[in-house]
């Protein structure tokens, strides 16, 4: 518990680490989401063209 308190700086230290984790996970999620969307849009367009 003493380790987690970080000598009364816990709120500063943990908020920085938490925020970093959140931003990295958000960047990863955004990259995956855009990749899926772009791929799906192209797939739909190409398959529609093929069916004509």
């Amino acid at each position: 518990m003493e380790n987690l308190a970080m000598g009364n700086y816990g709120v500063y230290v943990w908020s920085c680490f938490g925020l970093t984790l959140a931003v990295v996970l958000f960047s990863d999620w955004r990259a995956r989401l855009r990749q899926r969307r772009v791929y799906r849009d192209i797939e739909v367009r190409i398959k529609a063209l093929e069916e004509r």
């Binding site: 380790n3 970080m6 000598g7 009364n8 700086y9 816990g10 500063y12 230290v13 908020s15 920085c16 680490f17 925020l19 970093t20 931003v23 990295v24 958000f26 960047s27 990863d28 955004r30 990259a31 995956r32 855009r34 990749q35 772009v38 791929y39 849009d41 192209i42 797939e43 367009r45 190409i46 398959k47 093929e50």
Partner: protein, 249 residues
């Protein structure tokens, strides 16, 4: 050599190669970060002046370093695209911008949180390191806004590459600001003359974090470049064949 370079810059070749390399960068990146977080938070000794607040260095420094590195990647790729007209390099520049902005935001916020207990203030407008880093964030926003405002991809590539190249001046200012002007921000820690001014028990987790962040950044960048390449090449034969093949991407 030139032939290999051209082969690597070919969109279909790069698209497939990046899919293979990206996870191989993510795995060591995550492992190094896991070690760096544990050692930085629980094994490294407390700083005699800053106490445990110094541990913010383990996320602040890698973020600040990547904020500048991403910008240099963006500017150099844009420059290569302008000079040699390599399409892939514009895709790299476009993909680096959101990541660079994310790490610049992190560097600013973690720096501000660190500054509150150490300097007694969240922000100091007169400090050259802080303000030049904020300008770097605005440069990223400007770059992305400029790209978004121009529908023609070729024109957007050229205009944004010029903006990125002009903005390199600010990266130089960010890096040397603590040496050129008196600043609240501390001086160079790692790139100091005579070697890093840190105890090895504090230094090794920091180096692991910097390397881990770099690997992770590389993995994220490759994934974003793949998407950018796919979008730009959406009307080409190789994309059509890949989509229609049973294996897909």
């Amino acid at each position: 050599m030139w032939k290999l370079f051209h082969q690597l810059a070919s969109p279909p070749h790069f698209y497939r190669l990046a899919a293979v390399i990206s996870p191989w960068l993510a795995v060591p990146g995550i492992a190094l970060i896991a070690y760096g977080v544990y050692a930085g938070l629980f094994l490294a000794p407390m700083d005699y002046q800053q106490g445990d607040a110094f541990r913010i260095i383990y996320v602040h420094v890698p973020s600040a370093y990547l904020s500048m590195m991403a910008y240099m990647i963006m500017a150099i790729s844009g420059g290569i695209g302008l000079i040699w007209r390599i399409k892939l390099s514009h895709a790299v520049a476009a993909a680096a911008a959101p990541l660079g902005a994310a790490f610049t935001f992190l560097a600013l916020v973690t720096g501000s949180i660190w500054g509150r207990p150490m300097w007694g203030t969240w922000w100091e407008w007169g400090d050259p390191r802080l303000t030049s880093e904020l300008i770097l964030l605005f440069l990223y926003f400007g770059y992305m806004a400029l790209r978004g405002a121009i529908d023609d991809t070729a024109k957007a590539d050229k205009a944004s590459a010029v903006l990125a190249l002009v903005g390199v001046v600010n990266v130089v200012i960010v890096h040397f600001s603590v040496e050129w002007w008196s600043s609240l921000h501390q001086g160079q820690t790692l790139m100091k003359k005579g070697g890093p001014a840190m105890d090895p028990a504090m230094l090794y987790p920091l180096l692991a974090m910097i390397l881990g962040f770099t690997f992770l950044f590389g993995s994220l960048l490759l994934r974003r470049v793949r998407t950018e390449v796919l979008f730009r090449e959406r009307r080409t034969k190789w994309v059509r064949e890949m989509i229609l093949s049973p294996e897909g991407s």
